[in-house]
Symmetry: C2
Subunit: 365 residues, 2 copies
């Protein structure tokens, strides 16, 4: 049995708590002889800043590059609101994405039937929802230069951010979206603002070419990102795979997540290019939710998004799709049994702490 | 009685139809001696391109600068998808905004009680909703330079867009938001991505300073634009006035509009700075909805957003708040009577064409 190298980066806030439940799962899988993992742990975000005055240490970056997969909790919190920009908690996550080349961020937005009523949307609008946002993650306004604040004198400052996209960056993310759609309902919707942004013009052009050249059998639609956002709120089920840039993807995937009413349940995968020799790809798995500093340390956090992110690692990094399916089924069964963490608690269901939820899922598995 | 100079720019798609209903209203107000308007009409968007190969002619720009207010329909449509970037329909609207200095875009998102069920959100989430998005409209990534596509050779192109904000641009839009909040529920929520964008850092800093210096009595909250978008979908009633940049404002105001289920009902105002001498400000009023080319020319369009935009002109440009209130009441009464255009038609209500809706509102008035 191959040994898989995992780097666990719990981060801040509820990160360590929800990561604890993934650890429990990993230990069990190892002791039951189902899979073999070698795990190491590192610091990222505010916790790295507190220890080393950086958002991730060089040592942990080396471990990250060396790992088969990174399991990432969450970063940030008011405690670090005033730290210098370059070492703010988010910088650690952004560096991991950029330095490891994790250009493809897959964010499924799935509505768990047991939780459909938790959404602010009507049941009919979201029941059975199953879409994926494919977000470009290493380009755009997140990393483009110049990115500066200049003092102009007279009490005036000028802030500049730069959105940059090259053809190859759009091509490779488009391929990820089309490949994914082929395994699903065969439809891709590309979103940009070509009526205002030159990067939107190029995005539209390149996605159209890749489609024509390599994926003519997949249905492709184009939407302006603003009206796409509207359509997402109006009738999300019209979509299958949505492909979009880094900033629009940030907004649209959060909105899609909120639609499901299951924010504490949603995982994500950030993938690099497949290495021609080793056939491996760098990967980082993280929940869509944040570090929720307000409830940290109280055993209130929902560990499902984190556990489910580990499930994506089984599927995308370790080719253990069958085990991932079992894990998904275990989560659904525990939810169906009525167990709920505080964020998804409703009348007539049973309250569970972070640990109780993690244990129940493991037992079901 | 003062004569107010109006420039009507119906634009494309359903623009001319809905503008027709505003004209009907203007004619009646004049003939009834309630207000005096001198109206002129111009071309913008695709219709200007068809006539002059530009998105707005120099002659119409002169008229626009000379008018007390511009009433704008909508631009764009598949017919002009392939025209050169510089003369695409949207360029006409963007030039009007920029050259007239219309930096403050006010977009109310109000849920009409009679239409609460048209929303994809649950009734309790949006009943009674009344928020305003204050969007910065002449800065940011819409107008920053460089904005280019360069051929790099090797089949690669590079697209660049630039987001630029200066202190004064953020200060003046913040003041508009705070002033508005003072007349409402006294709360402003500022949204940006300071964890990723330098313009977000400056935005946050300047809004905080303006608040401290000039509006300490107004409640100010800051949200990251992505989680702000989530909060908007989850529980929009927590907001009063939201102030944000050009691109986030584009996305967030469209989403807020869709939440209400009343997209065909929502007006907007784009205002310039108040001239010290004349005490006047340049202003453009337009519906939030687009040109809906698929239903153009069939008498199906809902004229309420357009009529209601004219109502905002009465309020903000001509100091006729009482008349604007009456117009709003007339719209609400017609809706309560059960009259509906196709976009908001539901069981048990009476179908109306664009003209019938316009006539009914006028009669009620
Ligand atoms: C934490 C932050 C930098 C990050 C982003 O903006 O990408 C987060 O919002 C996300 O969506 O993963
Ligand atoms: C038509 C387009 C250029 C415009 C924008 O992006 O500002 C529109 O979406 C809007 O919100 O007014």
């Amino acid at each position: 049995m191959a040994t898989h190298k995992l780097l666990l980066l719990p981060g801040d806030g509820i990160g360590p708590e929800v990561m604890g439940e993934v650890k429990r799962l990993i230990d069990w899988l190892s002791s039951a002889g189902i899979a073999k993992f070698e795990t190491d742990t590192g610091l990222v975000g505010g916790s790295a800043y507190d220890a080393h005055k950086v958002s991730i240490s060089e040592g942990d970056m080396v471990k990250a590059k060396d790992a088969d997969a990174i399991i990432f909790g969450a970063v940030g919190g008011p405690k670090w609101d005033a730290v210098p920009y370059d070492v703010r908690p988010e910088a650690g996550l952004l560096r991991l994405r950029k330095d490891l080349g994790l250009f493809a961020n897959l964010r499924p937005a799935v509505c768990y039937p047991a939780l459909a009523d938790a959404s602010s949307l009507k049941r009919e609008a979201i029941e059975g929802l199953d879409i994926v946002i494919v977000r470009e993650l290493t380009g755009g306004v997140y990393f483009g230069e110049p990115k500066t604040i200049t003092d102009l004198g007279n009490g005036q400052k000028r802030a500049i951010d730069t959105q940059v996209y090259d053809t190859y960056e759009i091509e490779r993310i488009a391929r990820v979206a089309f490949d994914l759609a082929k395994k699903r309902r065969n439809k891709v919707t590309s979103m940009e603002k070509r009526n205002v942004m030159k990067s939107g013009v190029l995005w539209n052009e390149v996605v159209t070419q890749v489609h024509k050249r390599e994926y003519a059998d997949v249905t492709l639609e184009h939407q302006l990102a603003d009206s796409g956002g509207m359509m997402l709120v109006k009738w999300p089920k019209q979509f299958d795979v949505i492909v979009t840039d880094n900033l629009f993807g940030d907004m649209l995937s959060d909105i899609a997540a909120m639609l499901t009413g299951s924010l504490g349940m949603l995982p994500s995968a950030s993938l690099g290019e497949v290495d021609v020799k080793s056939k491996k790809r760098k990967a980082l798995y993280e929940p869509v939710h944040g570090s929720a500093p307000d409830i940290a340390g109280q055993g209130l956090a929902n560990p499902i998004a984190m556990i489910s992110s580990f499930g994506m690692a089984l599927r995308y990094s370790f080719d253990m799709g069958a085990l991932a399916d079992k894990l998904d089924a275990a989560i659904a069964a525990v939810l169906a049994s009525g167990l709920r963490t505080a964020d998804i608690k409703s009348e007539g269901t049973t309250a569970a702490s972070t640990t109780q939820m993690g244990e129940a899922i493991l037992k079901e598995l």
